[in-house]
Amino acid sequence: MIDIQRLQFEYPRTDFRLRVDRLQVSPGERIAVVGPSGSGKTTLLNLISGIVVPKAGSVEVAGRQVSALSDSKRRDFRAASIGFIFQQFELVEYLSVLENILLPFMINRTLRIDSNVLTRGTELAASMGLQDKLARKIRRLSQGEQQRVAICRALVTEPPLLLADEPTGNLDPRNKGLTIRLLFEFCRRQKATLVVVTHDLGILEGFDRQIDFAQFRPEATP
């Protein structure tokens, strides 16, 4: 599913450097990426999803060279093939629960809302226990409910790849367990690949593989 080779990346005007010689993730695999802050874990997710492009090397996702695609192609690829889950949930406060779940369809020209999508969104919400809260505004939800909405939003496009950046960082222990179970359940059902970046060593159980990012040794410019 993911094949990264001889990747080099740096942010302009900073001393941040990232080098990944080889990283492969198989379809349906569940990977936990751990490592110290500033080691480049989130940058790795951005590279995989095509939000940023490497200075050298290649990033191939689902058989496509993401790093070689144009801006708009990467965007369309991201919308159709990748589900994103963020630590702060990043929900849109002025939209309802259902509208937040359907947000990828509302903001991307390649995705269309039809009755199937609506049904899928509603069923996803129901499977997360949000069926009575579809019309609610986000601020009226608890933290756990907000994270479940964010997960629904990531899953509604039925992406083959799920990227989660500290998905349990803002949750209590009960909701942490629930969130991870929901992600695993989705990946099992959809045969999707899951890459989770986390500091939380308590959730690592159940992942197929753990990658310690310290091994990629991001170098600082002398």
Partner: protein, 393 residues
């Protein structure tokens, strides 16, 4: 495009307060200068049209502007008076038509205009209902007076007491409404017209009462002084003029000395106008004014003040635009994460920009809609507003 506008609409309606503040900024910035220009244009048009249809005015020495506005717009609290004899002088001179104007009293807050029948054809006023004044105590009311007070020909309309606390003052006169004028779109719509003699009766210069002589009722007389009978306080004046008592109404004194507010003059030709104007140059008590000139002077002054207002409005508009820009920039900064999330979810930068533009468009459109509504209202009620604010005493 539709999606962006839908999202933008949700944002605007969710942040009601901040959206309203932005809309209010737009409304105030746009409406005030436009409304002032509009009202001023209407004011200019209205006041100039009325002034130009009034070739000359004779009144007491004093403010030319006050005399003009009093006579054209029937401001009823006029203190300065001139003798009615001047009307006779002008008429006898044969150079102009002279129409007296007596402006001192009101009837249910509308000015009572004591004048002659010449006034109506001169102003091209026609009756919408009823007849013209036929005898003392009759009145003809303007269309707005009739509609606001709900009166019809045959009804009675009482003049207002000069001072509610002065019980010894002239009592109000109950007038018979003889006719209703058709709408003219001028100050005439808001006036109650009476014959000049009726106006003098309201002022207490003429009255009617039971016949008093030693034969009729000795309780009503105090004695005889030559041919004159001295009446006692028991003699009551009539408060309404009827067909039965109209003959008893009489005036004490010389009509030529009776007061009027102004004389509206219509010279026969330009030469007559010049001669008439010249007659009163240097007069220590009277002045002759040409309303159109007075109004032009007034408008020149008003337009000078307006240019200051325009400069001020321009500066305020620039300041408001800068503030709006700042608010928008701060809002963008606050929403950076939201935009970044949308980008990560597959939204293009151009769609994100479109979303921002759509929000501004919606707020701008709401602002423009409100401004248009307010301008429409101002346009439709400008005449009434001008008369209520500037031309009524």
């Amino acid at each position: 495009m539709t999606r962006a506008f839908r999202l933008a609409w949700r944002y605007v309606t969710y942040h009601k307060f901040s959206s309203l503040v932005l809309v209010a900024c737009i409304v105030l910035t746009l409406y005030l200068p436009v409304a002032v220009s509009l009202v001023l244009r209407q004011f200019h048009h209205q006041i100039l049209a009325r002034a130009e249809s009034t070739p000359g005015l004779l009144g007491a020495l004093g403010s030319r502007l006050d005399l003009t506005l009093d006579a054209l717009y029937f401001r009823s609290d006029v203190k300065r008076e001139i003798p009615f004899g001047e009307v006779k002088k002008i008429r006898e001179g044969g150079r102009a038509l002279a129409i007296p104007l007596h402006l001192k009293f009101t009837a249910r807050k509308f000015p009572i205009v004591g004048t002659s029948l010449d006034y109506f054809p001169y102003r091209e006023l026609r009756l919408a209902a009823g007849d013209s004044m036929a005898r003392l105590g009759d009145c003809v009311v303007g269309s707005k007076v009739a509609s606001e007070l709900g009166i019809r020909p045959g009804d009675r309309l009482k003049s207002d007491r000069e001072n509610d606390l002065d019980i010894a003052g002239n009592p109000p006169l109950k007038m018979r409404v003889k006719g209703i004028l058709a709408d003219s779109g001028s100050a005439d719509d808001e006036a109650v017209f009476v014959d000049i003699k009726t106006a003098w009766i309201i002022q207490g210069l003429g009255h009617g009462h039971d016949e008093v002589n030693s034969q009729t009722n000795e309780n009503l007389t105090l004695g005889q002084q030559g041919e004159n009978t001295i009446a006692s306080a028991a003699v009551a004046s009539y408060l309404e003029i009827t067909d039965d008592n109209v003959r008893s109404f009489h005036f004490h004194g010389d009509f030529a000395e009776f007061p009027i507010t102004a004389i509206l003059t219509v010279p026969n030709d330009p030469r007559a106008a010049n001669l008439l104007e010249g007659t009163y140059v240097g007069n220590s008590e009277l002045q002759y004014v040409i309303p159109s000139l007075v109004v032009s002077e007034l408008m020149a002054m008003v337009l000078q003040i307006k240019s200051l207002f325009d400069a001020n409005a321009l500066m305020i508009s620039i300041a408001t635009l800068m503030l709006l820009g700042l608010v928008i920039l701060l809002s963008l900064k606050l929403r950076q994460r939201e935009m970044e999330t949308m980008f990560k979810l597959g939204c293009s930068r151009s769609t994100i920009a479109l979303l921002q533009i759509a929000e501004l468009c919606i707020i701008g459109a709401i602002g423009l809609l409100i401004v248009s509504g307010m301008i429409w209202l101002t346009w439709n009620f400008a005449d009434d507003l001008i008369r209520a604010l500037f031309l009524r005493s």
